[in-house]
């Protein structure tokens, strides 16, 4: 075996195009070119601007939970752009005259990377990033319980994403969809490195996510401010806790089944092949044992976001806190009891199918309760339609429609008639676009000032909402229709002319979604440009209800100058009601915060190179990196000088500074919430009178 394993010239992105010029290979070469040029452009920009040092010193080496969260979200944003562009190319492929401009294989790579990216490298980093930024601030913690492990989680996820991007340039990605069922993904039917890209990029991010889950759960158990009992925790912290527990238990089966698949492919095992007693049904079982809880890992944090955005912009207390907590717990528990509904068509007995069907609709109860709770929170409120609130309302409306089709699909008999069809594709996009993306967009618009000190531009935010909302309906309602007309998913082209009008509407929808994404890029640009006008230094731009709004924007590295003592569910609301605009300090004490270290980054990068070695069968490289990774971990473990000290005096000075800012900031009424008059000190003047 050569030193480069299975790597050869044909794996370089432009070579197939030279050998076999066609639209399909040209698009593949173009996509690889974009990645290469994009990477070059970033390198040049960093060099010209002299940003290498600040990037490394302040971001890559940072263990600050807020910065780690921001990097997660930046990663998700980059991958979201790729995922949406892929979706647009696939929609275009289907409206082009059959057989379209992509080969069947190229189309298959697109739907496989689209799914893998959207789930693992958009949805997961978004929610993990948001949790990182917000959860410690909500529970009165100064950082995660394990800040260094947090950095390792982050950079492992980045490494996984980098591998998926690398597959555009070197070699090919997997073609069996994001679920990668064997035996199709076995060595015989899929001999190229695509499946290995899938296995190892998921392995990296999967380990990262498991570590994140442990980190979140332990942080919530150990780091809550004194007096914050579990039933006084903000709902977002509750959904984080449930998500974290799901992460800890659900990522394991994925790691196990993908490792078993790797053994099948390269070590001659027969776990999932039909020879020598293997059985591919075990893969489906293990995969969905991960895959279904995963759906709730994705959705629960968004439920948490809505439980804060809706009360804030309704000017009203959250309706039914206890209900929401128990509904969250119920969803988390039930999520482990329904995985068979992903394969009702695998030939198990009718009784088994019926039981899993009933378990599935049972999840509808707590979920329905939540939507009603949010609606009752809005009822008799004073609603302000900020971008975050629009995304929340748009979510509620759209999610209910997805709920209807979800309950339909929970009936095994209906599933027989709709499985593997575009009806199913429309259903899960109908759950995840509102249930995950809208939630994350709402959360980012809402909590953005905590990280950077300024609000996001509302005009472009509202535009992005309408584009996403209308784009969603235009894209996926037609897919429901042609799904019932018998259109299977993952089809490279359709020959039935009756589908064409629907596919064209769907194409227009995809372009509208792309316009929504463009609005968000513009929103970010405009906000950064006008950041002086959007600054909210006093820290409470929305008349917020949680502790995170009591800290000033941007939140200092140490988060809390003093850790508050909690006596109610909404201590910040109580403080404001008693006329305070800064929380009363408790006790100033010296604190220790972790020093910056690049070790987390380097451990993960070595692991990523090792994974690349596994993908191209360069076993020597994989072994070397495996050892190197643990050596780095050991070196770090023997480092005793890893904390830096902040004295009580510094904290007191910081507190006084913040107090001064708040005292010198003019109060404004809610009428001026979205104007440059809003400096982060806002109140409902009518109420005040």
């Amino acid at each position: 075996m050569s030193i480069l394993g299975s790597l050869n010239w044909d794996d370089i992105f432009i070579v197939p195009w030279f050998k076999e010029p066609s639209t399909s290979t040209a698009i593949a070469a173009g996509a690889g070119g974009i990645v290469v040029l994009g990477a070059l452009a970033v390198l040049v920009l960093l060099t010209v601007k002299g940003w290498w040092k600040p990037l490394y010193k302040e971001w890559i080496t940072s263990l600050d939970h807020k910065k780690i969260g921001v990097i997660y979200i930046v990663l998700a944003a980059i991958m979201l752009i790729r995922g949406v562009l892929e979706a647009v190319v696939m929609r275009a492929q289907q409206v082009a005259p059959a057989p379209g401009f992509l080969s069947v294989e190229h189309h298959a790579e697109l739907f496989s990377t689209h799914g893998t990216i959207m789930i693992f490298f958009v949805a997961m980093p978004l929610l993990i990033g948001l949790i990182n930024v917000v959860m410690p601030l909500q529970i009165g913690a100064r950082d995660m319980e394990f800040p260094f492990m947090n950095a390792i989680s982050l950079w492992l996820s980045v490494g996984g994403a980098a591998l998926v991007m690398a597959s555009l340039v070197i070699g090919k990605f997997e073609t069996g969809g994001w679920t990668a069922y064997p035996p199709y993904t076995g060595a015989q039917l899929s001999p190229n490195e695509g499946v290995d890209y899938w296995i190892w990029s998921l392995m990296l991010t999967g380990i990262g996510t498991t570590l994140s889950g442990i980190n979140f759960a332990v942080t919530i158990y150990k780091q809550r401010a004194p007096g914050m009992t579990l039933m006084k925790m903000p709902i977002f912290a509750w959904t984080t806790l449930c998500t974290a527990i799901l992460m800890i238990f659900a990522m394991m089966p994925l790691a196990v089944c993908s490792l078993m698949l790797a053994l099948d492919r390269h070590a001659g095992f027969h776990f999932f092949t039909a020879d020598a007693g293997g059985n591919m049904m075990n893969f489906a079982n293990l995969f969905w044992l991960f895959g279904h809880p995963e759906v709730y890992i994705l959705i629960l944090p968004a439920f948490g976001v809505f439980s804060h955005v809706i009360p804030t912009f309704s000017g009203k207390k959250l309706y039914g806190y206890t209900s929401l907590v128990w509904a969250t717990i119920a969803i988390a528990v039930l999520s482990f009891t329904v995985w068979v509904h992903h394969f009702f068509t695998m030939g198990q007995t009718a009784h088994l199918n019926a039981i899993f069907g009933i378990a599935t609709i049972t999840i509808g109860v707590p979920t329905g309760v939540k939507v009603y709770n949010w609606m009752l929170t809005m009822w008799r409120g004073k609603l302000r339609f900020s971008t975050a609130m629009l995304f929340s309302a748009g979510f509620m409306f759209t999610f209910v429609i997805g709920g209807i089709t979800g309950v339909m699909l929970a009936n095994p008999v209906i599933s027989f008639a709709a499985h593997n069809s575009l009806f199913l594709v429309a259903h899960f996009h109908n759950m995840l676009i509102p249930g995950l993306l809208f939630g994350m967009f709402a959360g980012i618009n809402y909590w953005f000032p905590l990280c950077f000190g300024f609000r996001l531009d509302e005009k472009w935010g509202v535009r992005s909402f309408w584009c996403w909302m209308i784009g969603f309906y235009l894209t996926f309602m037609p897919l429901y229709a042609i799904g019932l007309m018998g259109a299977p998913r993952r089809m490279a082209f359709f020959t039935d002319p009756a589908y064409m009008p629907w596919l064209i509407i769907s194409m227009i929808g995809a372009l509208t979604v792309l316009a929504g994404l463009t609005c968000q890029v513009i929103q970010m640009y405009v906000s950064v440009k006008n950041r002086e006008d959007l600054m909210v230094p006093a820290g409470d731009p929305w008349d917020g209800r949680g502790l995170e709004w009591s800290l000033g924007c941007p939140v200092p590295e140490h988060d809390f100058t003093t850790i508050p003592h909690i006596t109610s569910r909404e201590p910040w609301v109580d403080a404001k009601a008693s006329g305070l605009r800064v929380m009363e300090p408790t006790e100033f004490v010296d604190i220790e915060l972790p020093k910056n270290t690049g070790m987390g980054f380097w451990v993960a990068m070595v692991a990523t190179v090792g994974a690349f070695g596994m993908i191209f069968q360069m076993w020597w490289l994989a072994a070397l990196c495996w050892v190197g990774m643990w050596v780095l971990v050991l070196v770090r473990s023997y480092n005793t000088d890893w904390e830096h000290h902040i004295s009580a005096q510094e904290l007191r000075a910081d507190y006084e500074r913040h107090k001064h800012v708040v005292e010198t900031t003019p109060k404004v009424s809610l009428d001026d919430e979205f104007t440059s008059k809003n400096r982060g000190l806002i109140m409902d003047m009518e109420e005040a009178v």
Partner: protein
């Protein structure tokens, strides 16, 4: 906004719907599936319509600027509302749960849909389907069935996992190597239907389909007498080619062949890759097959064979 639009879309769709889907059923099982779909949709409306109507209403009535609603900033609990919400959704789920139980047992694909069903054995491979009428004949990419008759398909696969589906007769079930699954159904009136694999399985996935002819009982009997090719030709060719465009009717295999094949996929396939490089000669032949298929389907007279 979205609600009337959805209804308009639904109306448009129902009026123009004459395709290969479950909404135009040709047999009783597909008809039952369609009816369950509609009933489940309707049963969800009592819990969902209050949100779909109430939410826009709340958004208008309680908007801060210009809204006319009362303001109760501290109201956060109502036992009556809790009872209604939890109770209402629980009752709906109990009702739907009972329906799921009844439907699932009633339309169990393993249960015969009538006495003495016609037995057809199926082998799905990359990218073609073999049908065996045990002791009578074997066909490729074509299955002929008498009208208004129960049928039992015994299904297996060689190579990748596939999903056997004739939407206008019944739902789908996976076809898996080393496994046997069953799909029972009853045919309806005379019809030319299409069946296919709905589980992506590689380069010629769009061609992985078969004709289903539902004919009169006499035509079915005469079909079973039609001239045929030798079984060994079928087996040799079936192992070799990616897509099928040869003769479709053959002698039946020896007794018990299908059972053995279901346990040993190598009897049916030589086991090539399902994903090929663009310049691979086999990929070229698949591309040609796709193009000739498209050419054929464009020349095929349009119209529904109901």
């Amino acid at each position: 906004m979205a609600l009337p639009a959805s209804f308009a879309v639904a109306a448009l769709w129902l009026s123009g719907c004459a395709e290969n889907g479950v909404m135009t059923p040709s047999g009783p099982i597909a008809a039952a599936e369609k009816s369950h779909m509609i009933w489940f949709f309707l049963w969800m409306l009592p819990v969902c319509l209050p949100i779909l109507i109430g939410l826009p209403w709340i958004c208008i009535k309680y908007r801060r600027k210009g809204g006319k609603g009362a303001y109760r900033p501290n109201w956060s609990h109502s036992t009556m509302a809790e009872t209604l919400i939890w109770g209402g959704s629980t009752l709906t789920v109990i009702l739907l749960g009972v329906l799921i139980w009844i439907n699932t047992i009633g339309e169990d694909p393993y249960k015969h849909t009538g006495a003495n069903p016609i037995k057809v054995q199926v082998v799905g491979s990359e990218w073609k389907w073999m049908f065996i009428y045990p002791g009578k004949m074997a066909t490729v990419n074509k299955v002929v069935l008498p009208q208004h008759t129960p049928v039992e398909f015994d299904i297996t696969a060689a190579g990748a996992m596939q999903s056997f589906w004739i939407p206008r007769l019944a739902g789908q079930i996976y076809a898996m190597p080393g496994m046997q699954t069953k799909m029972n159904m009853t045919t309806g009136d005379l019809a030319k239907l299409e069946g296919f694999n709905s589980q992506f399985n590689g380069a010629a996935f769009p061609l992985d389909k078969f004709e289903v002819d539902v004919v009169s009982k006499q035509d079915y009997e005469s079909f079973l007498q039609s001239p045929r090719q030798p079984w060994n030709d079928l087996l040799t060719e079936f192992k070799k080619v990616a897509t099928w465009n040869g003769p479709q009717i053959f002698d039946a295999p020896p007794k018990g062949w299908w059972d053995k094949a279901s346990m040993d996929p190598s009897m049916v396939t030589n086991g090539g890759a399902a994903i090929l490089d663009d310049h691979d000669p086999e990929q070229k032949s698949i591309d040609e097959a796709i193009h000739s298929e498209l050419h054929l389907s464009q020349n095929k007279p349009q119209g529904d064979a109901q």
